[in-house]
Symmetry: C2
Subunit: 436 residues, 2 copies
C-alpha cells in the first residue's frame, strides 16, 4: 500500500542530535547518512532513515538528490532587514556608524512601500543563502513590521521580528515614546504573535536609546505576554559599554539594566555580548538568556572578539547572527568562516561540527525553537537546505584532496557561499532553487 | 591616418599615481575617468585619456566596455602555489599547521607532473581573480619552480618565484642542504631570472628552517645576483618569534637574523611582520625592505593583526598577499575585506582608495616593479582587469543606494569576489574571460 506523503528525497543528510560540547566525542553529536531518505508529510518530518532499495516499492516518487547534502535550514539569530541596502558602509565603529549610516537609512521605512520592497529583497536573500528562520530587527515604524510579516507570510517562513523601541539618543525622526512604543508593540503582538509561523519580539534597540520609562514598559509587555521574545543588543562596543555606565549609574553593569526591567530569560536574545564582566557572564547563564554571536559584524565594525569557549564552558545558549548591515553577508557559511577566525585569534577552536551545529540546532536552541526546528527528528517542521558540496573550481580541487566528512564540512564552512545552495525548502515546499 | 595599435578600449578607468598617505587629499592619489579610452600598443600602455567622439575617427576599432571599470592588474605579494590544494585546513596555528598539513602536501611536488597540474590550476585562479603579478613560494624541489615558470610562460605573466631553501626543522623528505640549495638556486636563477617577464626570488622558508650555513649561502647568492629578490617570512606567530630567539640567541631580534646574512634590502619581501619590536620596524625602514600584508591568512591562522598605520607612518613599502593556502581566497577583494577588518580591530581605517592602491601600485612598489606595472602611465606593461561593478543581487541593491565613487569602491572591496571579474588582460592580450 502506497503512503500519502508530500515529499520523499534521497540524498546525503547531516543533522545534529546534541551539542558537540556536551558529548565525549563529537561524532556522538550528529547523524550523517551518506545515502539517506527523508520523508516529509504535511510540512513536517515524518522520517529520516538510511536508504534501501525497498524504498522504491514503498514510495511512488522519490526525488533523487544523490550527491547533494541536505541539512536543516540555517538559522540567523540576529539580523536587521532595514539595513540590507546599507551593507558595507565605510569607516566607522558602532556609535558613529549608527549616526552616520543607520539612522538616515531607517528613516526610509516610514514609507511602507519602501519597507515592503526591502522586505521582499531580504526574504529572497535569506532563502538564497539557505536560511529558513531568523530573528529580525525592524525599524521604529510599526508599518516596517507589517511589511516584513506580510511578505514572510507568502513563504510561510518561521520568523521572529519586532518594532524597534527607541525614545532617546537618536534623531527626532526615529523616536517613539514610552507610551506609543507600548501601544504599538501591544497591537503588533496581538496581530502577529503566533499567527501561522510568525512570532513577535519586544525590541528595544539597546539600553542607550531607551529611557528607564521605556525599558519599564518593555518589561511590562514581557510580563503581559511571557511567551513573546525579547531581542536587543548587549556589550558590542567598548564606548557603548561606557555610555551605558554613564546613563545608568545605578546599575552594576550593562546586563543588569535589562535584568532589572524584566527583559532577561529563556526567550531573550542578546546580540554580541563581547565585553562582558565575569558577573555578567554568570547572570546571562543564571537567567537562561541567549546570545547571538555575530562574527562578521564584530570584525567589520572592529567591535571585538566573542569568547566562544567561555560561552560553551558555561553552557550558555548561543547561535549565529549575520547582523546585516553591520555584517556584510547573509551567508551562514561566510559567518562561520569569520567565526572560525574570531576563535583562532583567541587561540580557540571552532570545528566544522560545532559550526554547523550552531547554524542549525544550536540556533534553534538559542531561539527556544528546538521543539519545532533545528534537526530532522520526526514531527519537526520540514525546513531544510540542499547543498552542493562544490560550487567553484577551488572547492572541486579541495574535494579531490579532502579526507573524510570533517574535512569536507570545514571546506564548506571556509569556502562556501550562496553558490553552494542548490535549493531551500520551507515547511516541506520548495521556496528557492538556485538559478531559477 | 590610422595608427597601428593592439587594443583600444572605452570604459571607466581607475588607477593610482601616488600613495594616498603621501598626499593631503586622497583624491590627489588617483585618476578616475568615468568615460575613458585606453590605448595599448605592443603590450604596453600607450595612452589613457578621457574619451571624446573624435576618437572614433582616430581608431579603427574601439572595444566598447562602457559600464565596466578597468584597473591595473592586481598584485599578490605573497602566495604559495603548492598549497592551493590544501586550502582551508582545519584547526591549527602556524607551526602545527606546517607540520600537519603543509609539509606532507609539499612532498607531492617532487613529482613534476603533479607540480605542473597544480601550477596550471594556480595560474588560472590568479587570472580568474584579476591577479596578473605574484610573488610565489614553490617547494624545496627545483622541478616545482620549473613547472610553475613553464606554465607561466604560456600566459606571459610577470611573476616572481623561487625554490624553498630549507635544511633543518622539517621532515627529512623536504630538506635540502646548504650546498644543494646554493647550486640549485644558482642554476634556477641562471635559467629563469629575467627570462621574458619572469624573475627569481631567493626563498629561504623562514629563519627556523635554515641553518646559519644555509642563510649564509642565501646571502652569498644575493651578493652574486643583487638584482634577484629575497622572499621569506617574518614574525607571523608568537611561538615562531620565540623559536627564532632560541635558535639564534646571538641576534638581537628576528629581523636581525636576515639582516646579518645580507638578506634585507629594497628587493626583499617579508611576509606578515606582525609581532615586531620598535627596533625591527625601524630596521625594516632603514634597509628599505618591503612587507607582504596577508590579512586573510593572519586571521585564519590566528596569527595576529598587522599594524597598517605604523607601516604607513614609517613609509614602509607594503603590498597585499593572499597567502594561499593559509589564506582561504585568491581574491584581492576578499583580501581587502579582511584587511579592513584587521584595521578596524585596531581602531585604524583602511579606505577603499588605500585598499585598491595596495592591490595595484602599492603592490608594484613593494615588489620594486613600479617602473613596469601598477598603473596606466604611458610605457608601462598593459596588465589590467576589467571589473563588473555589480555581480550579485546584493551588489546591485547596494549600487542603487550608493553615493559616489568611494562608496562604490568600498562595496567592491567588501562584497566583491571572482564574480566581479569580467576579464583579465596580460601584456595587452586577453588572458581570461569570465564564463568562457
Amino acid at each position: 500500500m502506497k503512503t500519502e506523503t508530500t515529499a520523499v528525497i534521497r540524498a546525503s543528510f547531516l543533522h545534529f542530535i546534541a551539542n558537540p560540547c556536551d558529548v565525549d566525542d563529537e561524532s556522538a553529536s550528529y547523524e550523517y547518512l551518506a545515502d539517506g531518505l527523508l520523508v516529509v508529510e504535511n510540512g513536517h518530518i515524518k522520517q529520516l532513515k538510511a536508504f534501501d532499495e525497498s524504498d522504491y516499492k514503498q514510495y511512488e516518487h522519490i526525488e533523487d538528490l544523490q550527491g547533494k547534502l541536505i541539512m536543516p535550514g540555517f538559522i540567523d539569530t540576529h539580523v536587521h532587514y532595514p539595513q540590507t541596502q546599507m551593507i558595507a558602509a565605510y569607516g566607522e565603529q558602532l556609535l558613529e556608524w549608527l549616526e552616520t549610516y543607520t539612522f538616515p537609512t531607517e528613516k526610509q521605512f516610514e514609507d511602507k512601500a519602501h519597507a515592503k520592497a526591502m522586505a521582499e529583497f531580504f526574504i529572497k536573500e535569506l532563502l538564497k543563502n539557505g536560511t529558513t528562520t531568523a530573528l529580525v530587527f525592524c525599524t521604529v515604524h510599526p508599518q516596517s513590521v507589517d511589511a516584513l510579516f506580510e511578505e514572510v507570510m507568502r513563504y510561510n517562513l518561521r520568523l521572529i521580528a519586532g518594532k524597534v523601541m527607541m525614545d532617546r539618543n537618536a534623531p527626532d525622526y526615529l523616536l517613539d515614546t514610552a507610551e506609543s512604543s507600548y501601544s504599538q508593540t501591544k497591537a503588533l503582538i496581538e496581530k502577529w504573535h503566533n499567527h501561522y509561523r510568525l512570532q513577535y519580539a519586544i525590541t528595544p534597540r539597546f539600553a542607550p536609546t531607551s529611557t528607564p520609562e521605556q525599558l519599564a514598559v518593555a518589561g511590562r509587555l514581557k510580563n503581559e505576554y511571557p511567551d513573546v521574545y525579547v531581542h536587543t543588543h548587549l556589550s558590542e562596543n567598548k564606548n557603548e559599554v561606557e555610555w551605558v555606565k554613564s546613563l545608568f549609574p545605578e546599575h552594576v553593569d550593562y546586563f543588569d539594566v535589562y535584568k532589572y526591567y524584566g527583559l532577561t530569560g529563556h526567550k531573550s536574545v542578546f546580540a554580541h555580548a563581547i565585553h562582558l564582566s565575569e558577573p555578567e557572564w554568570h547572570a546571562i547563564k543564571q537567567t537562561n538568556s541567549a546570545i547571538a554571536f555575530c562574527p562578521t559584524s564584530n570584525l567589520f565594525l572592529g567591535s571585538g572578539l566573542f569568547d566562544l569557549e567561555k560561552a560553551e564552558k558555561l553552557a550558555i545558549r548561543f547561535g549565529l547572527g549575520t547582523d546585516v548591515g553591520a555584517g556584510t553577508s547573509f551567508s551562514l557559511f561566510q559567518t562561520l568562516g569569520e567565526a572560525y577566525k574570531v576563535a583562532q585569534l583567541q587561540g580557540e577552536k571552532l570545528s566544522a561540527f560545532m559550526g554547523f551545529y550552531l547554524a542549525t540546532l544550536g540556533g534553534a536552541k538559542a531561539l527556544s525553537l528546538d521543539d519545532k526546528i533545528g534537526n530532522f527528528e520526526s514531527g519537526k517542521e520540514a525546513d531544510f537546505v540542499v547543498l552542493n558540496w562544490s560550487a567553484t573550481d577551488l572547492q572541486k580541487l579541495h574535494a579531490r584532496y579532502s579526507q573524510g566528512l570533517p574535512d569536507r564540512l570545514f571546506a564548506l564552512m571556509m569556502l562556501g557561499d550562496e553558490r553552494n545552495i542548490h535549493s531551500t525548502f520551507v515547511a516541506g515546499e520548495v521556496a528557492y532553487v538556485n538559478g531559477e
